[in-house]
């Protein structure tokens, strides 16, 4: 069977599975729709959280980023897992005890203010839509490469699938579909990694293989360091980011993860406070399965790619791959434009090296090299990896299904928090407080449908800044929602005025700094280079400063304003105690 038929079969079967689950789990109440009736087992919820969390970015892009950043890629690994520690200890159990449906609702109640709730809704919608755009782009890439259909067709199919189970099933449908999607995506990720690890080192466990000796001799990471430094790149295990920037980016990603509404809301679905704690642990177990494999995939992909192009001593003319001799996967990915070769010195061979390293360029020009000739998009490393390693077609088909599962599961979770913040926080909470539960449920479904259309549009006309947008989403979550929720639980003294001022300060500062360098919607006002950055902190890491400002402003303003009223003091007392969470079922 050829690859295309096989891919259609595997992806089709996975879609049929998601549909079947959606039919079984139709939501009947707003409780079902928003928080799956609060009856999800903690391990099941952990698995669903993992699928919800691991997006197209985690599945498709992360290992590729690590492959090219080396040690610098650690920010994603530590940042996107360490956030769960904050979530488990600082937010999840207390928000579960609070026991209502949405994050803005908590902020509105704790800060006794509709304005605070609206600020939170605005943050949430902005964060979630920027995130969803990235997912839709992921679906488009996978479809166009593996199904050989246009990106548009791929998008419409993807939107249709999400529509069925998010709109009908709500949180209940999404939760159980995500469990299936987790199984698909984790097998799609680990199976090729196991094969490749075994091929390279004889050890099938990728996490161990990464630190093992190659079958051709020498430790893999040592060989990789030699390989890439010989081509003028920074050593793989050193990277090229400054310590302060790595520190700040990791902090943003951790706090941002803990502050992402679609992740937080998952812990509203378990029956007890105790379950919210352990469920976070289970979520991280399932996430760690992928996140500890990813650095191995990154290192192995960099090794395989480099040795394919540079198959002998650097500087010997015949050691560079002849373009005519390029492997099949190379040709297939050239068609997508994500892999490109330009024969700058006209020798018919591929030179892949760091032409931004002046000392090395001097050496290279002595060999007749006239610039790096290969451009590789980060996003193809995971998808092309099984092809680079010559794995059987069914593995490649599985990877396609996994990429789609990762994108769809995250998109569905995001669309749900968007729709619930519109129907519950905006309509029920502010604009039309008198609607019945049934009307609210209908409004929620309509909002989800509209949100899917907007997300589809964003995927169709992807804003050119998807990568920057990720920095945006995490920076804003870290600088606005995370501190507001944290102070809401752990401080009795932060007031309405303090919280609003803090959120706005964090939001505006972070947004302003990112816009200044990245210029989304407007031209950048300064070049995005380290020399221009404040204290050497990149726009990706600036949310950590925004977070600090949020805390400082909130505490300062709270000192000057009247203390929170008595019923809010009591609310704080109640959410700090686990006993009585069950009664929150019916409110």
């Amino acid at each position: 069977m050829d690859l295309k038929t096989l891919t259609y079969l595997v992806v089709g079967a996975s879609f049929a599975l998601y549909f079947g689950i959606a039919l079984y789990t139709t939501a009947r109440s707003t409780g079902d729709f928003y928080v799956a009736g609060k009856g999800v087992h903690p391990v099941v919820n952990g698995m669903a959280t993992a699928a919800d969390w691991m997006s197209a970015a985690s599945f498709i892009s992360m290992a590729g980023l690590i492959a090219f950043l080396g040690y610098g890629g650690s920010v994603y690994l530590m940042g996107w897992t360490g956030g769960y520690v904050l979530l488990a200890m600082l937010l999840a159990p207390y928000l579960r005890k609070y026991g209502k449906f949405t994050v803005p609702e908590f902020i509105g109640d704790r800060y006794y203010s509709k304005a605070a709730r609206l600020v939170a809704v605005v943050c949430l919608i902005f964060i979630s839509f920027t995130y969803v755009a990235g997912q839709m782009r992921g679906v488009g890439i996978v479809f166009s490469r593996f199904m050989e259909v246009s990106v548009e067709t791929g998008l419409i199919v993807g939107m249709g699938i999400v529509f069925v189970y998010a709109v009908l099933g709500g949180m209940k449908g999404i939760t159980y579909t995500q469990v299936a999607q987790y199984v698909v995506l984790i097998s799609a990720y680990t199976v090729p990694a196991v094969f490749i690890a075994f091929n390279l080192t004889g050890n099938p466990v990728p996490q161990v293989a990464m630190g093992s000796e190659l079958t051709s001799g020498g430790y893999m990471l040592d060989r990789l360091n030699t390989l890439v430094t010989d081509l003028g790149f920074a050593a793989y295990t050193d990277g090229n980011k400054t310590t302060i920037d790595i520190f700040c980016i990791t902090l943003v990603l951790m706090a941002g993860t803990a502050g992402l509404p679609h992740v937080i809301v998952r812990f509203f679905t378990v029956p007890k406070v105790r379950d919210a704690r352990s469920s976070t642990g289970w979520a991280l177990v399932f996430i760690a399965l992928l996140y500890t494999v990813a650095p191995a995939v990154g290192a192995m992909a960099r090794y395989n790619l480099t040795t394919t192009i540079q198959n002998g001593d650097v500087g010997v003319a015949t050691a560079n791959l002849e373009y005519e001799q390029r492997p099949e996967w190379f040709k297939r990915w050239e068609k997508t434009g994500l892999l490109a070769f330009q024969d700058k010195n006209g020798d018919g061979r591929i030179q892949y090296y760091n032409d931004k390293n002046p000392q090395f360029v001097e050496k290279a020009s002595a060999w007749g090299w006239k610039g790096n000739e290969l451009t590789v998009n980060n996003d193809i490393m995971v998808l092309a990896n099984p092809e680079i390693a010559n794995l059987p077609n069914w593995v490649i088909a599985l990877v396609a299904a996994g990429g789609i599962a990762a994108a769809l599961s995250t998109a569905a979770g995001l669309l749900l928090v968007i729709s619930s913040s519109i129907s519950h926080d905006l309509m029920k909470g502010a604009l039309t407080p008198n609607i019945t539960e049934k009307q609210e449920l209908t409004a929620g479904r309509l909002a989800a449908a509209v949100a899917i259309l907007i997300a589809g549009y964003l995927g169709w006309n992807p804003p050119a800044f998807v990568a920057q947008v990720v920095a945006f989403a995490f920076g804003l979550a870290a600088a606005s929602l995370f501190p507001a929720i944290l102070m809401g639980i752990f401080s009795r003294t932060v007031t309405r005025e303090g919280a609003i001022a803090g959120m706005l300060t964090g939001l505006i500062f972070t947004m302003g700094y990112i816009l200044y360098f990245k210029g989304i919607f407007i031209a950048p006002l300064a070049a995005d280079v380290p020399a221009n950055w404040m204290l050497g902190i990149s726009p990706e890491g600036i949310g950590s400063v925004g977070m600090l400002l949020n805390f400082l402003v909130a505490f300062a303003v709270s000192k000057m304003t009247a203390a929170p009223p008595r019923d809010v003091q009591e609310l704080i007392e109640t959410i700090r105690l686990p006993a009585g969470a069950g009664s929150a079922h019916s409110h």
Partner: protein, 93 residues
């Protein structure tokens, strides 16, 4: 016992429960900070002088070790919190 003293006894109990929770959270967050920001970032160069198989130790903490510690840390926290809940009589049924 009068209603008032029962109230204040409950307040003291709540307070000691909250203090115990905070102590546990602080302990866990110190470990969380040390393995990631400490070993994985600030001390990475010093630790990289030590080898763990084919890994440099600092690099291993940044890309593998910190994640394993995070997982263990959350389960340790969840377990200890269950004990603290019971000790202070605020556990769920």
């Amino acid at each position: 016992m009068t209603a008032n003293s029962a109230d204040s006894a409950r307040a003291t109990q709540r307070n000691s429960y909250w203090q115990a929770s905070l102590r546990l959270i602080m302990l866990c967050l110190v470990i969380w900070f040390v393995v990631s920001y400490g070993f994985g970032i600030l001390l990475v160069d010093q630790l990289n002088a030590i080898n763990l198989g084919g890994f440099k130790l600092g690099f291993w903490f940044a890309q593998q070790g910190s994640i394993y510690v995070f997982v263990a840390l959350i389960f340790f926290y969840a377990m200890r919190m269950n004990v603290i809940d019971r000790q202070h009589g605020v556990h769920e049924d």
